[in-house]
Assembly symmetry: C2
Homo-oligomer: 448 residues x 2
């Protein structure tokens, strides 16, 4: 594939001048960079040219394929049933993976999920799982297969062998101002997800004040790129554009979010989180060919919660990955912060708006998140939101509760959370469905 006559400098110039790179050229760049043949300074110039010039859909698919093939691609074809995963672009209180992986597995879909850690104002699935005592997200390929065979779902972290190109390239993008390229984001996400060896993928593309993409148009654009890229690579993909203009559910923080997931899997939990989880799980089941319609799959999901099967799956999964499943029944076994501080409302009225990113940063400031990759997190801390948009409140009533272990940055977190709320004297509608839009690949609509 690599031509001796191909030179990286010419490909940098070609992209700089706005031309379309061929699949071979993109493969040459990705394979060469992964192999250590090309210096960072050439690749960062190329990445900036890609960011500013863009990539065609064909180029994005080629980039995704080249990155995917830079490392190991998992293979579960012998397992029979469909392999389906969900990916979220990240938000605050976004804990659905812990709810829907058990539901989908309970419905007979395999879920070989590889997740990430929290960074900045957004949380990460791995950090949430690790707040369960003993839970191990670093499994070998053999261990992953064993868990998947036994309970139908397995939730692990990135391994060194999967999409090494993305590891190198993302680290470089992070320090060169080249993260914010839809083409590069799409290829990064899709290559990692497709390396899981899945047949179908449900994308939860967040938009709003707590999302990576504040504007819905940007979220829709990325969603379209990802859906088309997946389709070009022979996968069924659907993207749900969902609301992240306020935190999802009521709990923000790692152990706190595990608690809320348990509530949902036991039939409780806040309605926004329940509804979105049922929608996402339904799409996984439908694309996993375990139902003939999304509606049917949604009913099935609800029944798998109601009859306890989904919660049982989560307990099995936890036990199989070394976690203390008793902590799921008995919250006192989960990490708990030493102190709590109530934030009270200073006025009567309604919550009119929340700056969702500020809530995420407040949780980070308490120790629940990471500013830099190297930071360690405190699984116990976080925020419980008693009031969200549309809720009525009286002066002196609790807005939220901060769970903290160190008073060092409490005042910073307090002022962040206070300023995240906007109020109105007049009544404000509660937010309706979180799903703004559904973007499907043509193959979903035609076949299945």
């Amino acid at each position: 594939m690599r031509s001796r006559l191909m030179r990286l400098i010419d490909l940098i110039r070609k992209k700089r001048d706005g031309a379309e790179l061929t699949g071979d050229e993109i493969g040459f760049i990705v394979a060469g960079y992964t192999a250590g043949d090309f210096p960072d300074y050439q690749i960062s110039a190329w990445l900036m040219a890609v960011l500013l010039r863009g990539m065609s859909r064909v180029e994005i698919a080629a980039l995704t394929g080249a990155m995917l093939n830079s490392g190991e691609v998992l293979d579960w074809n012998d397992l029979g049933a469909r392999k389906v995963d969900k990916h979220s672009t990240g938000g605050v209180g976004d804990k659905t993976s812990l709810i829907i992986a058990p539901i989908a597995a309970a419905a007979g879909v395999y879920v070989p999920m590889i997740s990430g850690r929290g960074l900045g104002h957004t949380g990460g699935t791995l950090d949430k799982l690790e707040s369960i005592p003993g839970f191990n997200v670093n499994l070998s390929a053999k261990q992953m297969r064993s868990v998947l065979e036994q309970c139908g779902a397995c939730l692990i972290g990135q391994t060194a062998t999967i999409v090494p190109a993305d590891k190198k390239m993302y680290a470089l993008r992070d320090v060169t101002g080249t993260v914010e390229s839809p083409a590069l984001i799409c290829a990064s996400i899709m290559s990692k997800k497709l390396a899981e060896g899945i047949d179908a993928l449900v994308l939860d593309v967040k938009t709003g004040s707590g999302a990576f993409m504040k504007k819905e148009a940007d979220a829709v654009h990325l969603a379209e790129l990802m859906v088309e890229t997946g389709e070009r690579m022979g996968k069924k993909v659907v993207a749900l554009i969902t609301d992240m203009d306020q935190p999802l559910g009521k709990y923000v923080g790692n152990a706190l979010e595990v608690l809320e997931c348990v509530e949902v899997l036991q039939g409780g939990g806040p309605s926004d989180l329940v509804d979105l989880s049922l929608d996402l799980a339904a799409w996984m089941i439908y694309l996993g060919e375990r139902s003939s319609s999304v509606e049917e799959a949604k009913k099935l999901s609800a029944s798998l919660i109601a009859d306890g099967t989904a919660f049982k799956k989560f307990c099995d999964l936890t036990r199989l990955q070394g976690g203390d499943e008793r902590a799921l029944e008995n919250p006192s076994l989960l990490p708990r912060a030493k102190n709590q501080e109530e934030i009270l409302s200073s006025q009567n009225g309604y919550v009119s708006r929340m700056d969702c990113e500020k809530v995420g940063v407040a949780s980070l400031v308490l120790g629940g998140g990471r500013e830099k990759k190297e930071d360690t997190i405190d699984p116990a801390v976080g925020i419980v939101l008693h009031k969200k948009v549309g809720d009525k409140l009286s002066a002196g009533e609790r807005l939220c509760t901060l769970h903290y272990n160190s008073a060092a940055r409490l005042s910073e977190a307090r002022s962040l959370i206070q300023s995240s709320y906007s109020f109105s004297a007049a009544a404000v509608a509660t937010r309706g469905t979180l799903v703004h839009r559904i973007i499907e690949s043509k193959s979903n609509q035609a076949g299945a």
Copy 2:
């Protein structure tokens, strides 16, 4: 100047998003990179963003100033008379520096010229000078001052202490596809020229098939940027947009070009080279305040050739820089190629066009130029053009003569030179004045 709170990543993003950087921000980037504080991969991403987003005139002046101040700035204020230099953007057979530096010095202007080497199809002043036996272009600051004091001109190469930012940045641009930015080209040229401690600068911006800028509009754009940048930095600057659609003069190759310069300085030489040299020298003398008009300065230049003063200056300069001045009077002391091959015309008619870059590459192929910076050159080889655009010729008549030492790449050079000529049966006008356009800074026009 450097703020602790300033972060390179934010400045990369700012330029990426099309915003204007402040002088402090540009200073922070240049000083930090020169000091080794910033890795190449961040700077190359920034350079690509600069190339694709552009820079305002204010930003370009700030970049030029920051680069200029990254190293030593020569100071000849005690010398009294004005210090003036000329810079050419490069071409084929472009040897005017060796002619005009002596003329301007003879007129009483100081010429502290720092030149470059040839690369690709273009030649370099230093390589030409070094074909004179003993000529030393690597002088210390003290030696340079001594030569300048004694004869009014000194022609040396880049030193490590002058504009170190450009050395680092240019090396990086060269391998990251970020050379072709007018803003970066302007700042690179102007910072190096202004570091010579000059009061005024004459720019020879080449356009045509042998120039870096094939399109005149691009040449004019760069010229305008350079003139305005010089003006913003308090210097008098003029740019002559000149023709490089065929080689300048008749000789291409290092020792051959020295010979042709001697011919001009002795009152001979081809008219295109003579005329352009007189124009450039006249502007140097005028901006150097040794005449009250360009016309007067042009007459003065011609008389300094006619009376032998300019040639005497070239001999003095050569001797003072360690060169064998006898070689200027006696060409047999200059390097001479062992072999010559005549290229004959296969038809009757007129030369209608020359692909000037091909002539430059033919000289390179014979050993007279460099493909890469590390290549060594053969000072003796080159091409003598007997026919240029507009010349009448008969089948069997000589088009040009190749001077070569090794037959290894002779056939490649021959086919290049043959394909560089286009012919026409009908008469073709010879090319008129080489000066297409003159771009002056406002301060030249107002004052002086």
